[in-house]
Symmetry: C2
Subunit: 341 residues, 2 copies
């Protein structure tokens, strides 16, 4: 479905794949690309974000994080080294350094301690991934039989909402040197204005010749705004999670397919959308599938939302190439604000 | 998905579509083909089978059946006339006469009374559908604004496991005259040998120039055996329901994808299968999707099972044309019996 929708890269969850079916199993079956039959690029996260979400089930030390599986309660340990071993075994194209996603809110001291830990972990991540790529016995010993030496490694910026700490964190990462830089620890409960203040500030210091990745963001509006501030890459569960809950993204803002006003509505979700769902199915039919708990409902609404996001990113890229991004942004945002009739 | 798998006809449930979203809504939106964006033929059942399954929620009279909706408990009435109005509103290509699916076991007297009721209802079904097709004001009054005059009507044979009653039922239907004849009231708890005895007996009396449809059957073995006895058409939830439960059909019998023996298995579900799932995905990956409750798991296993059934029917038709059906049947059944390695 993602292939059909034109996705050029997907994200694999290190935490989930480590627990089930296991990175060794995936490596043995040829790596994640082959396992899931996906030939295009894959980015894997570090596993840290999920582990830190298990607040009551984890124990943090300098070495790493001990946690209990959400599936069976078994005890596991994740560290920068372990995260690299898992991601090397998965064979993704972009590997994320293992970071501590600083909880929000954090005091200045907490944020400082957290970003310093993240920096030490970033250094250990890079060293371990280099070993796995360049020393076959090390990889073999870690259970990584099939190695993808072309894996890129991204560092993750932390520092909560303290602008000077954000800059300090970035400088540390740039000194270590990564293939790309991510802004982490945002979209975790802070005000939207605080998020954009951080992005605006830190993006101006990020290397021009490396991808800039804003993690866990966001709504279509957020994405366009963050691009305006200089961000290149995003990831978010919103298009698919919201689709499963009946919330659809359109060029005129959100639409809740459960709403009874769509009962007899022969129109597509978004008449401006070129996706397969909008070219074939009515709101009335999609509402019926949703209310009847049909799997096809989730499939079609997800396909639309993902297509809408991909098309938006495509339009952003196109407008940047044409030098018309500001016009695009104004027209796109005013369309969203217009709402459904 | 069914389009992609090559399905040339699908079945729509009159009971479910009547309750939700409502046949009037579907008619208003252009009929069932347009509503679900399916351009190939559709057969609709009469709604009777589902209503009779609601044992405690229904009341049967000569006129029809009163029942309570399984969704909200509201009271409804289904009769031959009402069933025709609903199916006319849906605009399917094959309409099924409204029958009483004789419960099993039944005494001879019960079976006789039931088939006689079914015969009277078959007559009323035909008359009402003719009216709806030929008298626009009648259709209009029944809320059928868009009429598909080319709808075919099939009668349904009853008589439980009493061979003489089956024959008597068929003679009554043939006298009324239908576009096709279905064998109903089987696969409802009787022994398989009893089912085949009925099919074998009654198929020999069914008109040669009309489709013969065995309702609610069955396993791949059952289908091949019933074809050998002269049956042309089948319907069954098995391919999709079993897929959602992890049970896959293969040329070497059933395979339960939950089984831990498939944990690391790089092989496709069925190496003899040409479907999209077997050409791309391993048993290990499908097992992982199943255990992780991923929607994609149900989608892919359903696609395989439906493809397996459609391919089996295709191979049956091909072998009949080539005059090699018996060879096909022997080789197919011995493959199924061979089982997984």
């Amino acid at each position: 479905m993602l292939e059909e929708a034109g996705a050029s890269i997907i994200l694999g969850n290190t935490y989930h794949l480590y627990l089930r079916p296991g990175h060794a199993t995936i490596n043995q079956l040829g790596g994640l690309h082959r396992f899931m039959s996906w030939e295009r690029p894959i980015l894997t996260d570090s596993g840290g974000f999920q582990v830190f979400s298990l607040t009551s089930l984890r124990k943090l030390t300098e070495e790493g994080v001990e946690f209990q599986s959400h599936i069976d309660g078994s005890t596991h340990f994740l560290s920068p080294e372990k995260s690299m071993e898992i991601q090397a075994a998965l064979g993704s194209d972009i590997v994320m350094a293992f970071d501590e996603c600083t909880p929000f809110p954090a005091t200045r001291e907490e944020a400082l301690a957290s970003l310093e830990l993240t920096e030490r972990w970033a250094r250990r991540s890079k060293q371990r991934l280099l070993e796995l790529h360049s020393e076959p016995p090390a990889a073999e010993q870690a259970g990584v039989r099939i190695v993808n030496q072309t894996q890129a490694l991204f560092g993750i910026n932390q520092g909560s909402t303290f602008l000077d700490l954000r800059k300090r964190s970035l400088e540390g990462l740039v000194e270590i040197g990564f293939d790309g830089y991510a802004i982490g620890g945002l979209s975790v409960g802070e005000q939207k204005s605080a998020m954009f203040e951080v992005v605006s500030h830190i993006a101006s210091f990020m290397p021009d010749n490396r991808p800039r990745y804003l993690m866990g963001v966001g709504t279509p509006e957020d994405i366009v705004e963050a691009v305006a501030l200089g961000v290149d890459m995003f990831d978010c569960v919103m298009p698919t999670r919201n689709a499963r809950n009946g919330q659809l993204f359109t060029s005129r803002g959100k639409l809740n397919i459960k709403n009874s006003r769509y009962k007899d509505d022969p129109e597509p979700i978004d008449e401006a959308c070129q996706c397969k769902v909008c070219s074939r199915y009515s709101r009335a039919y999609l509402r019926h599938l949703y209310l009847s708990d049909e799997i096809l409902g989730s499939v079609l609404t997800s396909l639309h939302n993902v297509s809408f996001y991909l098309d938006t990113m495509g339009a952003i890229r196109q407008s940047i190439l044409l030098g018309t991004f500001n016009e695009f942004r104004n027209s796109f945002l005013s369309g969203l604000a217009r709402g459904q009739d």
